[in-house]
Symmetry: C2
Subunit: 289 residues, 2 copies
């Protein structure tokens, strides 16, 4: 399907994409570049890429598929760096967790080559980072959201849908604002709440003693609080409007619960917990995939 | 170690305790009672109990160990129901998730027999309820908190420590208020936040569409929102003071994050996320047990 993948960012996500394409027989050759030369070398040693490029620009030379798997904050400068090396028919995608900012960065950085760009967000990951953990099955049964812009060429959008589908992902297309609103609700807000929860504990003299009694419920609820600070700082700032909107809706719901608890409103409290519990229980089959 | 266990409430927790005692050779005979006769019958058919009692009072006749595994709200009435049947040397424990209310209920209901009562909270469970899921290994490596009162006889406290230790639990003793403060922070608050999170989503027109994009982070964070509404209503009300205290501390932490996001304070935000992330990551070894 593709002759050459230019992979910029040979970490967990980029490496997993390269492995998935290889395993599905969708690419002949992978040329990789990472900011850290030792990462690129390691990716080659592990067979994730075939050749190391000394720059992002050189990684895209001759590529008919380019994947940017870099921190969102580096998207615009990376697109600028590769623009003049892009082949006319190369499909370019990113993997960032926010999309309105990426669309804007693409327009600014790529100019007429913005037609080649199909912003993408694979909702997949692991608790561990690094190319050592790259996994060709990482995207199987995971959602991948594409947010083509009005400049994205239709043929590129179609090829983007095909490549993610063929490595097992469930592909959807939507606008960048729709993506950012949804992700704020189901991903960015839970992370923010988990961070605030840990900080509220950290701020208490007895916090460490309390934590000794943490059980399995705590473990699962707070797991995402261990996320990477740089990545999450960038996501929360890039999607700040939607994140703050969701956080406010959450605080209002929390304060309704607090009022019921303070008033001893047993019936109202049971109703509200019941509604929350049913909504969560209804998701179980969909979430086990 | 014990001749006869009187088990009141033959569900997941009570049934698991009976099985664990049997498997460790710590009890000769188990007599069980549940509010629903079909539950008691099922427990006998599954070999969790040896005999069915027609009432709580009859379940404790001849027992040198009594476990109440009933909803917290039923603790006081159950203790009243069994008081006159308790043997002089019988050790009585409950398994409730809140302890100050249980201590008070014990004093009111048991009167002079309060010396026999050692309130207990095994921090263990499953996502599924019912005696069918009872598991003799449920308490292995789990925390069990004992909150003896000033009336609890020292010999009973010692036997309580021994029996939970011998079925694999990590036993600690503390005061009921210390227990309730800690559990509010590491268990009751996370549940409240998960309930409020699901309700905030439920309240949005686009909530169902957003939920289609939920990934593994969402799944783990919100898992505890599927908790039983009656049990959690009772816990949140029984421990309302500590729960509201923790919820307020949480809201303050959340609002500090919101201010950093709104102000675009990248450095402050990265610091706060970093502190939360390090605190959570430091718990990983302790929580995997």
């Amino acid at each position: 399907m593709f002759q050459q993948l230019g992979l910029i960012g040979c970490g967990l996500i980029g490496g997993s994409f390269a492995l998935a394409l290889r395993q599905a027989g969708l690419v002949r050759r992978v040329v990789g570049y990472s900011k850290s030369p030792s990462t690129t070398e390691r990716a080659r040693q592990l067979g994730v890429i075939d050749a190391e490029a000394p720059s992002a620009l050189q990684a895209v030379a001759g590529a008919d598929l380019v994947l940017l798997a870099v921190p969102v904050a580096a998207t615009e400068s990376t697109l600028r760096a590769i623009r003049l090396g892009l082949g006319e028919d190369a499909l370019v995608m990113d993997v960032g967790s926010t999309k309105a900012d990426v669309v804007a960065a693409g327009h600014r950085a790529l100019q007429q080559q913005a037609a080649n760009f199909v912003p993408a967000h694979p909702i997949a990951g692991k608790e561990v980072a690094g190319v050592e953990h790259a996994d060709g099955a990482l995207f199987v049964d995971r959602h991948v959201i594409l947010t083509p812009t009005e400049r994205s060429r239709a043929a590129h959008v179609q090829r983007a849908i095909e490549v993610w589908s063929r490595i097992g992902a469930r592909v959807q297309t939507m606008t960048a604002p729709a993506h950012d609103a949804a992700l704020a609700a189901v991903s960015h807000l839970p992370h923010l709440l988990a961070f605030a929860f840990m900080q509220a504990l950290n701020g208490q003299d007895e916090g460490a003693r309390f934590l000794e009694l943490a059980g399995p419920g705590f473990r699962d609820f707070s797991r995402i609080a261990a996320g990477d600070p740089t990545i999450w700082r960038d996501i929360l700032l890039a999607n700040r409007e939607q994140v703050l909107h969701q956080s406010q809706a959450f605080r209002e719901a929390l304060q309704r619960f607090e009022a019921q608890i303070a008033d001893g409103d047993a019936a109202g409290l049971a109703d509200a917990i019941g509604a929350a519990s049913r909504a969560r229980a209804a998701l179980k089959p969909a979430l086990s995939g």
